[in-house]
Symmetry: D2
Subunit: 293 residues, 4 copies
């Protein structure tokens, strides 16, 4: 298969590499060419623009940082949409808004090409090890065609027949993680102020809950390991805002998401936006006056 890949950053690079290792022809583009060089060295071809990738691909992946980047690459000057071949497929793996995904779905349909949404869960090391969880939504027939490719990247979880559904699921999941961070921070702060040692409490939580998320993040909090960030606080804020926007689009309140948003804003306002998002603990602590103690 002739595949295209646009966006070879921290996440996109290992994904593109695994598609190459699977034996596909690959044509790549990235805002800065350097990041794609190792792929070219292994046989991928370089394209000067998204449009050029589109012209030469049957299935085209995009893995970009946000709505703005995906919009630019898809609809901007030398964007991919206007150059896609009839019947070809665009697989969007970016974490973007359901609103943008809805708009792009319509524009792809008008153009007679296909769009799937496949945001991923997992960090760069999981991408490298082909152990991502790939959410996937779009028309069943198109999914059938693309699924074998995605299995080269990890496990595939089908979300429904409309692309934005995969984005809603992704944002829902990220919200669930964020809510666990916030709740953990509130619980730890309360018990600590009653004199319980943080390490004792973290041990009890992990004996009791058996939750990998609690385990991982409670240890980061315990060690106050804010830097280097595994996932930056400001990206967490971006995702929580996207979850809220997704909810507002369908008239659903998410008051816990509001609470998380406000603590992430508070943390950002203290200059902690580039720290790991477990630093939300520090916002919760300072509201309780722990920083004075």
């Amino acid at each position: 298969m002739r595949l295209g890949f646009i966006g070879t950053g921290n996440m996109g690079f290992p994904m593109a590499q695994n598609l190459l290792l699977q034996g596909n022809e690959l044509i790549v583009h990235n805002r800065t060419k350097e990041k794609a060089e190792p792929l070219i060295a292994r046989g991928a071809k370089w394209a000067e623009s998204p449009a050029e990738v589109a012209e030469k691909s049957e299935v085209l992946f995009t893995m970009l940082s946000d709505d703005h980047a995906l919009e630019e690459v898809t609809l901007g000057q030398n964007g991919l949409l206007s150059a896609m071949r009839a019947g070809s497929i665009h697989v969007s793996s970016s974490t973007v808004s359901v609103q943008l995904m809805g708009r792009l779905t319509k524009l792809h349909q008008e153009k007679g090409v296909f769009l799937l949404s496949s945001p991923v869960m997992g960090r760069p090391d999981a991408a490298k090890a082909a152990r991502l969880k790939l959410l996937l939504a779009g028309p069943a027939k198109v999914i059938e065609q693309v699924k074998p490719l995605l299995l080269a990247l990890g496990e595939v979880l089908i979300c429904g027949e409309v692309p934005k559904m995969a984005n809603a699921v992704k944002l829902g999941n990220n919200f669930l993680i964020a809510s666990m961070l916030e709740a953990l921070a509130e619980a730890i702060t309360m018990v600590r102020k009653h004199g319980v040692k943080a390490e004792d409490y973290v041990e009890i939580i992990n004996a009791f809950f058996g939750s990998p998320v609690y385990k991982n993040y409670s240890h980061l909090m315990l060690n106050r390991a804010w830097e280097p960030a595994g996932f930056k606080l400001q990206l967490g804020l971006k995702d929580v805002k996207l979850a809220l926007a997704a909810a507002e689009a369908v008239h659903a309140p998410m008051p816990v998401a509001d609470v998380v948003k406000n603590h992430l804003i508070e943390a950002g306002a203290q200059g902690w936006g580039d720290q790991d998002w477990t630093a939300i603990l520090k916002a919760v602590e300072r509201d309780a006056g722990v920083d004075r103690e």
Copy 2:
């Protein structure tokens, strides 16, 4: 050892039974004698009042429904405190406020007797199977004496040297569970309103999170299995309020607990207080207009 046990209800009964099976002498009291009969049939002795239990015990357990009941049994007419023998130990297993535990600690000290707090995590079937998690806090020397007894009931998790610490931990844990219910309800509602099938989303959550709590509760929500209640919504509300009171006592905000509280109040105001606390989903859904659809 001569043990006392006051409060042989759903949780207390199997705990008392396991202490009996361990080979201890046991003297029991309960508000209604019938519930204690099977213990008496197996060799426990009946006492007419908490005071009588206290007179005849070296270690005395209480497992009662709330602050009011524990206060009455401890400090009321024929209450246990005034009758405790010098050097004897009161192990409180009720889920009560840190405020009451603080007050009782002082009163036991003045009387020259010992108080440990040991609220438990787990439901009646875990109590029966001696697989409870027993939180435990109090002076280390007293803990040493009592711990072998508690091992007949399950696993012991030490929280610190001040009794109320075990209560803070218990309330923190229950809050964490409650926050997971609320977050799950918000996420499920949002993705469903985007057209994702609830069963698909629940499957994805469980593939991704590996959390027993999410697994258990998301299936209850999916099956809308509100009755019979595993844990009643109004008891959940009671515990969340106790967590908030514990937080307020040490000047710590817990805004997610406030959100949970409000949805449980809303659910209670619809008449769902006796349903399982996963029915919080219905409160979240009706805020989003799902009940109209």
Copy 3:
């Protein structure tokens, strides 16, 4: 009329004085006798206990700081309730919980005596000038008897036939004021961070809203006049918690009250509990990082 007055503090003293000036016989009691001396100098009689006041009065006022004090004075040793004469009237002016008022109502009925609740709005200077607003609730016939006395203290606003109704109204009003402080703080902080001068914004608010509350409090905020406190932040927190307890008693969420509560807790945790409650602005500002600027 033979009147009794218990609690001659900042608010109670000027109220008692105005009842004396109206020409009534007055018998007074206070925890510390010194505060009542000037009243005695003007003809009031001293009683050694609440019970003694009750024995000698037809109508008996209490003006105390909180639930605990009112409970003690009414039900404690030498408390007033056991000594009240048949058909006599207890007018409670304290800001206390609806729960306590409900309980006291029942106990007064059982004793064959009357209870009115009449919490007041206004500060000591308004009490002195007989310009309080007196909320009043209880049986219409009893209100009729007492109202002429209350007119010596200010304006009377009838709330209903059950005493606790006046407390619900008082707590509702204090909540409304507190919510205006919080909203003002949020709005001021947001516009200031966009570069608008605080004094310009305060001027615009007052040109637009014509609200005495906004006017008064926005100027205190503008001048950062936290001390001396007109109304202490920790008393504001007490009242907001009472409002929440009143709401929870009838299954009503009050999410704005939760927000206010959390900012007052945050402010208290910074050590600002004795400052004026407009210092809630500082809690809002620090969440937005204004304190770093």
Copy 4:
């Protein structure tokens, strides 16, 4: 002066009319020409596009419904910006985001033309009576030129030298009103559930607060006068979201705005979006189970 006016809807029409009555030459454009006809009958000239208005005006007003409309009219095909004459002035009176206003400010500067922001407070009848409050922000020299024109429309309140400041102030004010509605709804619901009659409570509030906003809206709530809407609930939601976006742009949490947002979403999800925004009371009531009573 040769003035332009784009957007002659409910608010824009009476404003344009007052500028005409002041003796200015006026050229108008509106999406639907019919609405502008009465102005043309009184001497205004019609232009086929925003660009045509811009070509022929020294000062150009826009009064449009939202960000999208203002963006389209300013930057779209035949938009006004590309046609503005050197040194001419664009006065934007729409309630739009601070983000858009910031972007437009930059684009006007690049083009060598001036932008003032002047959102208004008041409803159509105030516009007709020339009794609007006009917020105004932009360079002082430009304000000086335009202010005499604005005095034909009402009172001018200066917010600062950067256009977006007037938008921040407008959104702050609308948030303050919205927060008063929410707080009023919470207080009324709580006291009513304690048995106090709504009309008694509303009377007390108005005796105590002396706030025109409370007075007006509490009577609308009391009469349950949801239709016809004085200000539609869904427009209120739009404005609260804009306030939150303005706050997030400067890293400021506004948790009361989140609460209001959620109740407006809940109300919208019940199908009440076209009712008056005082219908937020119904959302608060149903959370407290009042709709079942």
